[in-house]
Symmetry: C2
């Protein structure tokens, strides 16, 4: 029960949903997500830790960057069944469409890299 509740709580915030929808396009580093959501880096980092804790996403370090991507493995349970539903949802949502568009065409180096 505890884990199920944690799973639903992770999905109960619009910025976290936007992150998951963005990650449907491609893996992203924290600076990219921060730029798109227009939130403080610390806030985005917290959101990512909540999504990771609920097993919706996994991270991968590369130098000083951290890449986040959807957790498509089978090694989880609730997220494995909820992520496919989310794929079909909010396709028309204004924010989501804009976010995905940004994420698809922008080069990370222009946003945050050196």
């Amino acid at each position: 029960m505890r884990i199920l509740i944690k799973t639903f709580k992770a999905l109960s915030d619009p910025n976290r949903i936007r992150i998951l929808k963005m990650l449907q396009v491609r893996p992203l580093c924290v600076c990219e997500i921060t730029e798109v959501l227009n939130l403080a880096a610390s806030t985005v980092s917290k959101h990512l830790s909540i999504l990771r804790d609920a097993e919706f996403i996994i991270d991968e370090k590369e130098g000083k960057w951290v890449w986040y991507k959807l957790n498509d493995e089978e090694n989880q349970f609730y997220a494995n069944q909820l992520l496919p539903l989310l794929k079909n949802w909010l396709a028309e949502n204004k924010n989501v469409v804009e976010d995905k568009h940004l994420v698809a065409k922008v080069d990370r180096k222009e946003i945050c890299g050196t």
Copy 2:
């Protein structure tokens, strides 16, 4: 987006999940749910209004009682896809098993009716 968030928030509380799992057995009136969860009636009423607002359940008045049941209609969207998932989840959970057992065998009149 607003509706999706409301939907997930409705599922983000253990007592509301217990209510949905109990309603898988049969429709229940507020007094029965209150008895099983061992919460104040006002608290249960609030939980039910949140679940109803997210279209997981519907209510039906019968005299001074109000019956609640799962919303199995097709007239909603998110709940329609989430309720089947929930059916398969928590089947082994201790609280859920106890709740369902109580609900299956107890007569409403013994709990609250006159």
